[in-house]
């Protein structure tokens, strides 16, 4: 699976899709492959404020638990409720139906700290 070019990426393997003031957040294909069999997702409350780099959700797979960190600071607008019934969507479609939260972006300058798809791919190569 290719890492979509229009997204921004973090070192903790999250992605963010920017649509004006809104950021849609999920985990990358690399991350879902590491976890495999996702069985539970702990989602934040709507309205919760998060900081860039701080924990926003938790993903539990058969073998491990992993925190999801917010790529930017902001307020949680929406969470993907489908993940309650079918958490495996994250494994199947990590960049699409497997989105996790929608945020109202607080500070657009924070986006500059994130990586492009190419930068993320280099990062993966270096850290293998």
């Amino acid at each position: 699976m290719e890492n979509p070019r229009e997204l921004k990426y973090t070192k903790e393997h999250e992605w963010i899709r920017i649509e004006q003031d809104i950021g849609i957040v999920g985990i990358t294909d690399f991350a879902q492959k590491q976890l495999t069999d996702i069985v539970f997702v702990e989602l934040p409350e709507k309205g919760k404020r998060v900081e860039q780099g701080k924990q926003i959700a938790t993903i539990e797979s058969v073998k491990s638990v992993s925190d999801v960190f917010s790529p930017v600071s902001g307020e949680v607008l929406e969470v993907n409720n489908e993940l309650g019934e079918k958490p495996e969507i994250i494994n199947q479609d990590p960049y699409g139906k497997g989105w996790i939260v929608k945020l109202k972006i607080e500070n657009k300058e924070e986006i500059e700290r994130l990586m492009s798809a190419e930068e993320y791919e280099n990062f993966l190569k270096e850290h293998k």
């Binding site: 492959k33 495999t36 069999d37 069985v39 539970f40 938790t58 539990e60 058969v62 073998k63 638990v65 494994n91």
Partner: protein, 368 residues
Amino acid sequence: MPDLKKTPLYDLHLKLGARIIEFGGWLMPVSYTSIIEEHNTTRNKAGLFDVSHMGEILVEGERAHDFLQKMVTRDISKFDCNKSFYCCLCNPMGGVIDDLFVYKFNDKKFMLVVNASNVDKDFGWLMKNKDFFDDVTIINISNNIAKIDLQGPFSEQIINDSFDFDFSLLKRFDFIEKFFFNENFVISRTGYTAEDGFEIYFNSGRAIDVWNRLLKCGKDLGLKPVGLGARDTLRIEACYSLYGHELNENINPFEAGIGFVVDFSKDFIGKEALLEAKRDLKRIVVPFELLDKAIPRFNYDVFKNNRKIGLVTSGTFSPTFKKPIGLAILDIAEADVGSLIEIKIRGELHKAKIVERPFYKYKGKLNK
């Protein structure tokens, strides 16, 4: 730091796309596609497991029978030739040195199949205790033996096809020793999944051939390779112990819930301590299911009424029952079936219920 060990099938696993982890000094496949998928394939069709990292120890000699009677908890004389059985090696305090299968060829020849992590320890323990048994030889053949498990409802069909032999008469726990493809094989109707299945032991030089042949013959029936991840979910559903979790040198077989492997009808190392332990059992391993959406894991604390009553020994998400399940060692007073307990998972208490063993009953060929 010694190099990590690889089975003869390591490169094949990589080609099949396996995710590799380190387990007991070995590089092993944890899954090929997904743990849940491999688990379900084993329950519904058949799964193929490379477990060549396990240990095999040959014990032979005029008095091999008497020597092993002294060493293992179970009464060997109760078993016929070509039968295998589950038992423990205990220390003088009754703690478990290893859980293992003994394959009885005859009274003078036995093969012990032991945990990968305990091979050297078990071999050392046997050697240390063979003082007056000069005629007995103990040989660690682990490095020469490959072991492949074939488990699942289609196992018999697949193995019959692969070996061109009728395995239907082999009952559970029976084994045969026979030449196939110019090579000596030991094949038992045993396994670690609670499905019908076979464990196949042979010279490791032929591992790739045998693995590929089984995969080929099983292809149309849906046989797939299965990694250690699903091996764990399968055995937890069956409530089978894993050494280092339900068993260790400070846990005796009664505490582990496997008292049936202890025969007081003969002498063996640990007998006195176990007589006492059985009389005054203080804790026991029980199965439980979570009533909540969180996974219990090894060494998580177990509470009841705000008091810690034990520890989780194994935990996972059950692909068959689609809920978190596990095993825990608890104070015996709190270990009743139906009891509500709480598991501390990442700082929060989650409700759970003690249930009867096993979650998943053996589905194979009963030995009747």
